[in-house]
Structures are given as C-alpha cells and as structure tokens.
C-alpha cells in the first residue's frame, strides 16, 4: 500500500494530497507540547510575573534575581520535556491497528484494533484553535480507561484521520469519505441560556436570596446569615451555568450511519459521535421550572468499563447530553430517532399502589414504571421529572429489592441494570406481586430480544415545528 492514492476528504479536498495518513510512522504536530502544557504555562506566568515584579532585587544591577532564574529554568525544563515527549511520540495506522508509541524513559506502545473502534471524536481546545490544532480521540470497546489520543494534529488533518479510522473500522475502502451527517436539531444559544438559568439549582438560591432580603426587614440577623449563604450558593451555581453554557454552546446534533454526532462548545469545540450500539439508556429530564415552557432535556448513558482512573474523568464527561434543551415534542422526536418506538408516556396502570403514597410521599406523583416489547421505562423524581428508558436488549441483570419498611407497605423495588455507569432503571414502590411479575417478564423479554430483536415500525415521523 505504499503507492496509495491520497484519501479524499470531503471537508478539505484541496489539501488532501499533502496529508495521506499512511502506514509509516508520523509525529504529532510540533506545536503540540505548547497546547498540552499551555494551561500550566499560563499558570506559571500568572504566578511568576507578580512575584517577580514585587522582588526588590529586580532593581539592583547585580545580575538577575534568583527567582527569575528559577522560573526561567522551570520553563526551559518544561520546554525541553515537552519537546522530548513530542520527539518520542509517533503514531501510525498499520496491521489493522492504530499504533501509538510514546514515552522517553518508560516506553509505552498502545495498539488499538481498528475493528474495536467505537467512536472517533475531534476535540479542539481554545489554545489549539488559535494555533489551528485539534485532538483526535479514539474510543474503543473494552478499554474504557485507555483512549487513543492523538494530541495534536492540524485542524485540517484531524477530520481526515477521523474519516480514515472510521472507514477502516467499518472495513471500507481506505479513501471512503466520512459518512454524511443528516442535521437533526440545533439549539439556539438564546434558548440555552434562559433554560440553564431556569434550572432549579440556579433558581432556588435566587429565591432563597429574595426571601432573605425580605427577612432582613423583619429579622436582620437571620436574614443577613441566609443572604450570605445564598450568595455563596448563587456564585457556585453561576459557575455551573457558565460551565454548562461553555460546554453546550452552539449545540447541534446530527445523524450519521454510525451514530449521532454532537457538535458543541464555546471555548473548546467538540465533535463527538455516540454510536447507536453503545447507548445503554436514555433519560428524559423535565426540570420543575421548565414545565411551564414545555422544555425537556435528553441525556444518554453509554457503556464503558472501569472508570476508576483519574485519566478517564475527562472522558466520563464526554457525550452525556443528547440535547441540552428542546421543546418536549422535539425531545421526543429525537428520542424516537435514537430509540425507535419508545413512548415515554406512562400507561394509566403504571403508577405505584396508592398505599405507597406514605412510603414515598415526595416522589409519589412521578413514580411510574412499565415495559413494552423493546424498552423498560422508569419514571422518578421529586420536583424534576425524569424518565429513564432502557432497551431490553441492553439489560444486563434484573434485581428485586425489598427492605423492612418496603415490606410493611407490601412494595418492592425492581432494578434493571445496564452496562452504563450513570443510571439504572429503578422501578420503585411496585406492589410485591407485581414486582415479581416484572422481574419475570423483563428477564424473559430481555432474553427474547437478545435472540431476535423485535421488528421496527417502518414509519419515521417528521420533525415537529419548533416550540
């Protein structure tokens, strides 16, 4: 394959000739260390500059002060370290593997079988965007903790590498362009911000603050204390909103052959893929203050192995929101794309027995659990309504629990476990006999659907008008 035609990338056809990503070893972009350690660099400068400026020794003429020398030494050391790490890191695609070799003292060779690649994400952090660099992150099955990271390639090269990895992973011709994505939904930033602000963890402290201001008039001491704590909580939640806004800015979701694509981010742009087969559960969330507007949020839970490692914490953040905010109709339409034939509206008999009102007084009004031919549904929540939908094909085990208090009310909980890490469908407060029936039926249907997945209805509904 040494005389290989250059792969045709639809995004950048004019440059494709220069960027064949072939079998020979390649290095990452020379500016990679600067992007990788950019944050540390900025941190050092932020710490160093004021402390140096305050040094009285700076104004003497007998050479540089010691601290400046130390800081410069640190920078040089870091620079040399970064350069060496860049020098010894190389990668190639060969023998059905993505091979990455790195490490100067402790050599590390990572081989990711192309057939096991589940998704290839392109992530451009802010500093990388200034320099025109992007990271290619390969998510593979069975190695949740160890992703193949190519940080960094040029912004033009990254999509080409991505397309090539995907093509090879699917056993297609090398030059096959990335499958075209069909845009599904785009979230207006003007909708995202108010929606984020309307979440109860933001509005509750505001309401507390208002109450505190009112209380100051009546009892200044108590009111001031409440105001102080409300301000603290408010600052924390404001940071949370800013972070969520930064992450989900300019959010758009599209559908490609291999899964749904998410493009999002203000400072750090992410282009992620969630393969359909990897989705273990979907959650429809309707926060309390969103209900007057009829908004909903969709989240997914994807399969992964061990997540205990520190390094995977970032990957854990990846792709958990399917749509940050949409009208309920749009959210349900999107749900139907991801999980065909799922109906998250409970049938009338899905509620718990009325005696459970005392067992779960705060969430009784939302509790519901039911199952169909393809999915198990469980709705819970006290102020925020959240419905978890688990495909029967993905059920790993079914468990029934009943504690002493539950037995007093003759109810039991049925948990449906999946390989996802975030939630399990938990049918709380079911009648004892019904819970046993659920365990029996769900495990039976899960068994059947593993053998022969139930057929899909052929109709695909059109997108409802924006609400």
């Amino acid at each position: 394959m040494s005389v290989m035609p250059p792969p045709l990338a639809p995004a950048v056809p004019q440059e494709s000739g220069k960027m064949e990503v072939g079998e020979h070893w390649r290095r990452l972009h020379p500016l990679s260390p600067i992007v990788r350690f950019g944050r540390v660099l900025i941190g050092v400068i932020v710490v160093a500059v004021p402390s140096i400026a305050e040094q009285p020794a700076l104004h003497h003429d007998n050479g540089l002060p010691v601290s400046v020398i130390i800081y410069i030494g640190l920078l040089v050391l870091g620079g040399v370290g970064g350069f060496i790490s860049w020098l010894v890191t190389r990668w190639r695609i060969a023998d059905g593997n993505l091979q990455i070799e790195t490490g100067f003292i402790r050599r590390q060779s990572l081989r990711i079988p192309l057939a096991r690649i589940q998704a290839v994400d392109v992530i451009s952090p802010l500093s990388g965007r200034f320099l025109g660099l992007a990271e290619v992150r390969v998510v593979s099955a069975g190695r949740g903790a160890e992703h193949g990271r190519l940080a960094y390639l040029t912004a033009a090269q990254a999509p080409v590498v991505r397309a090539r990895l995907l093509a090879l992973a699917h056993g297609l011709e090398v030059g096959t362009p990335e499958p075209a994505a069909l845009p599904l939904l785009h979230v207006q930033n003007g909708l995202l911000l108010p929606a984020l602000l309307m979440r109860s963890q933001v509005l509750a402290p505001v309401l507390i603050a208002v109450a505190a201001v009112a209380a100051i008039a009546a009892a200044p001491l108590v009111g001031a204390g409440a105001l102080g704590s409300a301000v603290t909580v408010f600052v924390i939640s404001a940071l949370g909103v800013a972070r969520a806004f930064n992450e989900d800015f300019d959010f758009s979701i599209s559908e490609a052959g291999d899964g749904v694509r998410l493009d999002r981010g203000l400072l750090q742009r992410r282009h992620e893929t969630i393969p359909y087969g990897r989705i273990q559960a979907v959650r429809v969330v309707e926060p309390f203050f969103w209900r007057p507007f009829g908004w909903a949020r969709l989240e997914v839970d994807v399969a992964r192995q061990s997540v205990s490692r520190e390094a995977d914490r970032d990957a854990q953040q990846v792709a958990r929101t399917l749509i940050p905010v949409a009208s309920r109709e749009q959210a349900l339409w999107l749900l139907a794309r991801v999980m065909p034939d799922a109906h998250p509206n409970p049938p009338p008999e899905a509620g718990p027995p009325s005696r459970a009102r005392l067992k779960a007084p705060l969430s009784f009004h939302f509790l519901a659990a039911w199952f169909g031919q393809r999915y198990v549904y469980a709705r819970t929540g006290r102020v925020q309504k959240s419905t978890i939908i688990v495909p029967l094909v993905k059920v790993q085990s079914v468990r029934l629990k009943s504690g002493p208090l539950q037995r007093a009310f003759r109810v039991a909980t049925v948990d449906v476990d999946t390989a996802g890490r975030r939630w399990q469908a938990s049918a709380r407060c079911r009648d004892e006999a019904e819970a046993l029936e659920m365990v029996r039926h769900i495990s039976e249907r899960a068994r059947l659907s593993r053998r022969v997945p139930p057929p899909l209805p052929a109709s695909a509904a059109a997108l409802p008008a924006a609400g």
Partner: protein, 164 residues
C-alpha cells in the same frame, strides 16, 4: 418472600440451598468474634466492683444470640437456581434481594475462598456482568460444587454470549 419467588419464578424444588458446612463456618466465625468478647466481659464483671458491670456478660450474651439468629436467617435466605437461560440468586433477611443474571451477560466468574472458608472446604462463586450493580454472589458452596458450577456457568456463558 423468597418462598414466593420459589413459586413464581423458580419451579418448586429448583432453588438450591447452601451447604450446611457454610452454616458451620459462619458459626465458627461468630464464635471467633463473640467468644473472646464474652470472656472479656466476664473478666471485667468479676474485676470491677460495680453492680452494673454484672449485667455486661448478659448483654454480650444476648447480643451474641441475636447475631446468631440473624446469621442463621441470612444463611437460610440464600438460594440459587440455575435456569435454562439465567441464574437466580436470592439473599438477605432484612433487605431481601432477588437477582436474575442471564448467562449470556456474564463477563467473568470468580471463585474465591477466605481462610475460614478454606478450613471448611468452601468457596464463593461470584458472577460479573458489564453492569457494576450486578451482585450475583453465591457463598458457601463446597469447593467441588463451586468449581463445577463455575465450569457449567462458563460453558453456558460461552454458548449464549452476547455483546454489550
């Protein structure tokens, strides 16, 4: 409720119980803990010249009896059934659990034995699926039974394996 499960999910007589040796092992464990505690309380009651201290051995003995009863209930609550396509495990006295684990979902099977288990020739078989919450564990099987169960499970697991 375990009996209800026996009738509703598992056919009568299908639910296997743990080896009586497991109960012996558990009693040994209890004796190892409560014996010295009881002796210590007895010594304390004899040494300390406070009338309330005389009650201490009685309290300890009552606690030990309660522990013994609870442990016995727990031992009796354990049960498992190998069905055609899944394994059912029941356990728990206060908090009762019934787990259904399809063979096709098993990722690997552990057989472990602690020092007391080994002294009694026992072992614990634990099933792992891709879900972290799956808690199918069968303690107190006779070593040979445990190995046989592991081999059987591994075989059917292989035959019925499905991906994630």
């Amino acid at each position: 409720m375990t009996t209800v499960v026996t009738q509703q999910i598992v056919g009568p007589g299908e639910l296997k119980r743990l080896s009586p040796r497991f109960w012996l092992a558990r009693q040994t464990q209890l004796a190892i803990f409560w014996g010295p505690v009881f002796l210590a309380s007895l010594v304390l009651a004899l040494l300390v010249n406070v009338s309330a201290a005389d009650l201490l051995p009685v309290v300890v003995a009552l606690l030990a009896c309660t522990a013994w009863l609870v442990e016995r209930g727990r031992y009796r609550s354990w049960g498992y059934a190998e069905r055609e396509d899944d394994l059912i495990v029941t356990r728990g006295l206060m908090f009762r659990h019934v787990s259904v684990v399809p063979y096709g979902r098993m990722q690997f099977i552990d057989v472990t034995a602690g020092p007391i288990d080994r002294a009694f020739g026992l072992a614990t078989v634990q099933l792992h699926t891709a879900a972290a919450a799956t808690d199918a564990r069968i303690p107190g099987l006779v070593r040979a039974d445990a190995d046989a169960l592991r081999d059987r499970l591994a075989m059917v697991g292989e035959a019925k394996a499905t991906g994630l």
